[in-house]
């Protein structure tokens, strides 16, 4: 793919197909990440790493095994095993070799094993048939976009008071409305394409 196509894929993953605000794949992120900006950033870093590795492995598996032998019906099962297995492997590796990092980020990394965005990026990359550089760029910038969206939401929660609404809206409903307002700002970016 040319540079312009790669740039278009990158911009799409960041803005017009933001994993949290547009593709609605923020399910599975731990609740504390939506409340505390530092925790959101940590979860975001782990999510980006897992998304990139997941996209890499799923692309390789698709290219070497599934398409070559025509076994696409096993793809979803493989991906359902790949992401938690990847997270478990990463956790074990970091716990043995980088104990300080594990002390800080183990909970966040553990919460990624059921994150929709990780599985979503691995699946979208093979469903849309991206090439390998496009797949890695898409998953990396998708992770960055998800990080920015979650961190923005968490910081917004610190700035804005959510108790002035009617009692039936307090708690989760007003948070959903806030997320919806943030997503409204991104509607203008749907269908953004370079060139």
């Amino acid at each position: 793919m040319g540079i312009l196509d790669l740039a278009g894929v990158a911009l799409a993953a960041l803005l017009s197909e933001n994993f949290v605000l547009v593709n609605c794949m923020g399910i599975g992120t731990r609740v504390r990440s939506f409340r505390d900006p530092m925790d959101a950033l940590r979860t975001g870093y782990c999510l980006t790493v897992v998304m990139v590795l997941g996209a890499l492995f799923s692309w390789l598996a698709d290219y070497l095994v599934f398409t070559r032998f025509g076994l696409q019906y096993y793809r979803l099962l493989f991906l359902a095993l790949l992401i938690p297995g990847l997270v478990a492997g990463l956790r074990k590796f970091i716990r043995v070799c980088l104990p300080e990092l594990s002390r800080r980020m183990d909970e966040n990394l553990a919460s990624i094993s059921t994150n929709c965005a990780a599985l979503g990026s691995a699946l979208l990359v093979v469903q849309r048939g991206y090439s390998l550089p496009a797949a890695l760029l898409f998953s990396f910038l998708g992770g960055v976009g998800a990080t920015v969206a979650t961190a923005s939401f968490a910081s917004l929660r610190e700035e804005v008071s959510f108790d002035s609404c009617p009692r039936c809206f307090r708690g989760l409903p007003i948070l959903f409305i806030t997320g919806g307002l943030m997503a409204l700002g991104l509607v203008g970016f749907y269908g953004l394409h370079l060139g």
């Binding site: 017009s16 019906y73 096993y74 099962l77 095993l81 043995v96 070799c97 980088l98 104990p99 300080e100 990092l101 923005s152 910081s155 917004l156 610190e158 700035e159 804005v160 008071s161 959510f162 002035s164 609404c165 009617p166 809206f169 007003i174 409305i177 307002l181 943030m182 409204l184 700002g185 991104l186 509607v187 203008g188 970016f189 749907y190 269908g191 953004l192 394409h193 370079l194």
Partner: protein, 551 residues
């Protein structure tokens, strides 16, 4: 000695000191634009404005009353929201539209977060952008000086200057017409002269500061200068970009809302630059012709970040002291993370046991944990395999039938098709269609083109004379009811028999379906691409290669 002394303290020019005075100043600043809109579009504008302001006041009063909170109508902020909302509508808007926008703006965006000063998004802009997501409501732009009646909306819709700029050409109106307001568009955005007068009034009254509008317009002008299309003079392109659409309206009246813009000076400049950059990005590369509203809304969500970044530095500290401190703290924190080499030797034979048994002790615990997973995995694999074996014949039959139906739509003269080993850039697949007695009839090319909300995938049949035999859309993301009007069988039938390069007007053209311009243009672009591929199929050095091996 007994002369009357002036009791006014310096500065002698009065500044608004209450919220109501500030809001009144904003309304005064918007009066010239309103008057110009009435001049261009008729008295309907006044009724629309009255409906908008009235419904804003009503919703605010009702909400405050029903939730038992003190009445806030006195601070005139609801009036300003209503006036801004009304001025950002097209003249052909139905009377119910500002009511819907007002309900969303006042109740959800403003009051749910605590009322004036506590919202994080501009209410009038959010209401306007909500209405923009209903594509049918807001895209009927009438010509100026075409005064509409109060009841029937029967305007001749004309292309706005922005739609010309979106396709990369200068609008037909001259710069003086754009400046005065003889252009189609929203009520408030047409007359740049009146908007600039109002903005100047606000700056002189110290209601807003010049930082945000100046940085917004400056960034927009610089980016417009960087992306001049060929054949157009740079100066007139930049001026047309600045004067059309709601750029000036947004820069002076929406982006400067004190609640939803940064407080610090540097933050304000960064806000303006960000808005300008996003506006130009959206204007050049997105499917909507106008990007001002979306840009300001997106930047509204980042105001906290800009304020934190724009905090003035401590007296005596260096220029980047905060950044340097942050970096040194981050470096110290990262230096605590050390890499420890793992201990990777296994001893397989322990003393006191038969060789091989200790190994089993080690793995017994792990195997127990993995056993359950393995059993479930095996069962799942068997189930998937069984289901696939039972259904793959039916799946293949259904796929073949779907392929046959597609072929009947795309190339009715062909009886069956098969994939060819040709590859071309821009074509997803090239298939050859054969008649019942094995004669080559033509080629079916699968191409993609950018529609309004994403890629439109279509299959185009071209016979050996280079004429289109049929078009079928296999995948799209367009809005149903709006973009899909261009994909009905009747609309696609217009392409049959065309050859060469299909234009959008003139000879050898297919008109765009009204209301689905982007989708129609995408389908035309796809058909042109397919025709170009078939034309170069037999030539050496065309962009079709023969790929040997598996197809």
């Amino acid at each position: 000695m007994n002369s009357t002394r002036s009791l006014r303290l310096p500065p002698q020019m009065g500044q608004p000191t209450t919220t109501a005075a500030m809001m009144a100043d904003v309304m005064v600043a918007l009066l010239p634009s309103l008057a110009m809109a009435v001049f261009f579009f008729g008295f309907r504008v006044l009724i629309l404005t009255a409906v908008s302001i009235g419904s804003c006041l009503l919703f605010e009063y009702l909400y405050r009353r029903l939730t038992g909170q003190p009445d806030t109508l006195r601070d005139l902020s609801a009036c300003v929201t209503g006036l801004l909302l009304a001025l950002s509508l097209p003249a052909t808007a139905a009377y119910l539209i500002p009511v819907l926008g007002a309900a969303f703006a006042i109740v959800v965006v403003k009051q749910f977060y605590g009322g004036l000063g506590k919202n994080f998004m501009n209410p009038a802009l959010a209401g306007r952008m909500l209405l923009a997501t209903f594509p049918v409501l807001m895209t009927n732009w009438s010509k100026p000086l075409d005064r509409l009646s109060l009841w029937e909306v029967d305007a001749v819709s004309a292309a706005t200057p922005l739609s010309y700029l979106h396709t990369g050409s200068l609008p037909p109106q001259g710069l003086d017409q754009l400046f005065l307001g003889l252009q189609g568009g929203c009520l408030g955005e047409v007359s740049s002269l009146m908007l600039l007068l109002g903005g100047l009034y606000l700056v002189m009254r110290r209601v807003i500061s010049i930082r945000i509008p100046a940085s917004y317009l400056g960034t927009a002008a610089l980016l417009a200068l960087a992306f001049v299309p060929e054949g157009v003079s740079a100066g007139s392109w930049v001026a047309a970009q600045l004067l059309s659409g709601s750029l000036i309206f947004g820069a002076f009246f929406f982006a400067t809302d004190p609640t939803t813009s940064p407080v610090t000076p540097r933050g304000q400049i960064m806000f303006g630059v960000g808005c300008g950059a996003l506006t130009m990005l959206l204007r050049f590369f997105s499917s909507y012709p106008e990007g001002v509203g979306w840009a300001i809304l997106t930047m509204n969500c980042c105001v906290w970040l800009l304020d934190r970044a724009g905090l003035p530095r401590r007296f005596g500290a260096g220029r980047f002291s905060v950044l340097r401190e942050y970096l040194s703290r981050a470096r110290l924190s990262l230096a605590e993370i050390h890499f420890i080499k793992p201990d990777l030797h296994f001893s397989l034979i322990k003393e006191g046991k038969m060789p091989g048994e200790a190994h089993l002790d080690q793995i017994r615990t792990q195997a127990k944990a993995l056993l359950h997973l393995g059993a479930v995995l095996l069962a799942t694999v068997l189930v998937i395999f069984g289901v696939h074996r039972f259904t793959d014949l039916d799946t293949a039959r259904a796929e073949a039938k779907q392929q046959q139906q597609l072929l009947a739509q795309v190339m009715p003269q062909a009886a069956f098709s098969s994939e060819t080993p040709y590859r071309a850039s821009g074509a997803l697949s090239i298939q050859a269609g054969y008649s019942a007695d094995n004669e080559l009839v033509g080629y079916c090319i699968e191409v993609q083109a950018q529609g309004f909300s994403g890629a439109v995938t279509m299959e185009v049949g071209v016979d050996l004379d280079g004429k289109v035999t049929g078009v079928a859309v296999t995948d799209h993301k367009e809005t149903s009811g709006v973009g899909t009007e261009a994909m009905t069988p009747a609309a696609l039938h217009r392409y049959v028999g065309k050859s060469g390069t299909i234009r959008s007007s003139g000879s050898n053209s297919v008109d765009a379906v009204s209301g689905a311009t982007a989708t129609s243009q995408a389908i035309t672009a796809g058909v042109n691409r397919a025709l170009a591929i078939v034309a170069t199929l037999d030539q050496e050095g065309g962009d079709v290669d023969y790929v040997d091996g598996e197809v």
